[in-house]
Symmetry: C2
């Protein structure tokens, strides 16, 4: 009935994106415990820390301690976030423990880039060029770009397919200046403007221009459409998604208005399980980690399947 | 890209289905206030009360007072729920204020019917026959059937398309015994087993057998797939949905395990607005009612768009 993929890769964002929004402080050991527990679920990609200015994001003042402290599991790639040269320099000190994936960071909305990182498009392009060069000097080929505000922006409105393609083209150009060919692009719905139909349109437009480019999708649930948007991506055959365990990243019940969490990892795994799409992830183990995440943050998190329960066990009990 | 309908009808279930699960007691006047506020949003269908045994559902001991108390708005149809002859008799006393819609109540799972209503399939068929006759004697043609557990059941497992079609056929037979032709069937995912793909399969199977039958979809968000399932229905051109304001019907944070609310009405209206599908409902007004619902129940409810905010106003502010 549709082009559902046979298997998908899910990139866990909970430890990095989820914990920084908490009123915290979250103890360093709790962050490490969460990462170590996630490593045992079958996840192959976990974003573990943000190397950012501790004055702007106090929740990540302990990035070095977290990245130095977790237990790397063979076969799992642990990635950092960085926004500038200083952050990347810090992250590169942990080169043997980390995978540097979404290397080129762009925004389809210039007003958002200005607000979020105090950079206009030209300034950001220059910075990204430098960052890719730094990575290359460290022997790392930056083959993945991340496009923030890929579907819309609270400060710029809807993002057209043409704007999105222009932004991705800029990422290709930055990579090319460093003799690198982009292989993957992450379309991030940073401010939750995407709908299932705009997701399909964007995927179609990107594929028309770059047929071989792998697409990753990153949705927030702020307007309730996170899972429906992910399903629209699956229908288009997209096989890579970001998600946060327990829906970490902002609890709608804690008044973090406009900042609700990512699509919940175990809810997405449950959906894939039911659609016959392999994830390699054990939903029951992930539910245990979701409960750990609730214990760590000290309040309920918005994930559904950790309360509703997956169906596989229920089916087995009925046989 | 798909067969999205141009317009959909949304049937509000919050007052009936949403309030009975609350630890309550919810004052009668609050129920009336909620119904009256919903009447001003553009909704054309509101289920307002349950005429059931007050010993089993104490929250609806005041059904008569609620139904006698709200202010009917011209053009809006207010419907009751009843499960047996006694309930229907009580509801029929308010015939001039109420519309009797989902008249034939079936379950695709016999074990669920036994647990929920202490009736097996044969006993229920007999009862439904009597209820349709009672309605007919009152001058009401029961042209709509409601199928509970249409996609799966915690006590019987997955429901196949064949089982679903058999159940609908029984409803057709009961209607035919009373010289009535069914025009509409509501597929209710009572225990949240549906996935977007099983929704599409079920719709396809029903349409193959009864091309002219109007389909209504009723989803619970227990496993996080409510909106994705509704979107799958929209993709198939379904133009009738149940929903509950603010996602009333069970709060995942209150430990109502396995009983999370219906798809949230204002979230569904937001989705339709963004997809260019007419609902006739004002999402901003509905958000105000969602806030009223939270005040009435005294705790946060799971709706998203009442926190994230719809996009139309945001777009206007940017122009």
């Amino acid at each position: 009935m549709s082009d559902l993929p046979k298997a998908v890769e899910i990139c866990e964002k909970g430890p990095r994106e989820g914990l920084q929004i908490e009123p915290g402080p979250i103890p360093t050991q709790s962050k490490i415990d969460l990462i170590d527990a996630l490593s045992e679920t079958g996840l192959k990609q976990i974003q573990v820390a943000s190397f950012v200015d501790a004055r702007r994001v106090p929740g990540w003042a302990d990035a070095d301690a977290v990245v130095g402290g977790f237990l790397p599991r063979p076969g799992v790639r642990y990635s950092p976030l960085w926004l500038n040269e200083k952050g990347l320099e810090r992250a590169l000190r942990f080169k043997d423990r980390l995978a540097f994936r979404d290397a080129i960071l762009m925004s389809a909305s210039e007003p958002f880039m200005v607000r979020n990182q105090n950079s206009d498009t030209a300034k950001n392009a220059h910075r990204q060029h430098n960052l890719v060069a730094m990575l290359k000097a460290a022997g790392i080929h930056a083959e993945s770009a991340l496009i923030m505000a890929a579907f819309g922006c609270n400060f710029a409105g809807d993002i057209t397919a043409a704007q999105l393609l222009d932004t991705i083209q800029q990422a290709f150009d930055i990579a090319a200046e460093n003799d690198i060919v982009l292989k993957r692009v992450s379309l991030n719905d940073t401010m939750a403007w995407a709908t299932p139909e705009s997701v399909k349109r964007a995927i179609g437009a990107v594929r028309d221009r770059w047929p071989g480019l792998r697409i990753n999708l990153h949705f927030h649930n702020t307007r309730g459409l996170g899972v429906a948007n992910a399903y629209a991506g699956l229908e288009m055959g997209v096989d890579s998604f970001d998600a946060s365990v327990a829906g970490l990243g902002g609890c709608p019940f804690a008044g973090h208005k406009g900042a609700a969490g990512n699509v919940c990892t175990e809810d997405l795994v449950f959906l894939c399980d039911e659609l016959g799409i392999a994830t390699g992830i054990d939903v029951e183990r992930l539910i245990e980690v979701a409960r750990l995440a609730e214990t760590i943050v000290g309040h309920p998190l918005p994930g559904s399947i950790m309360r509703g329960g997956p169906l596989r066990r229920l089916r087995q009990g009925l046989q």
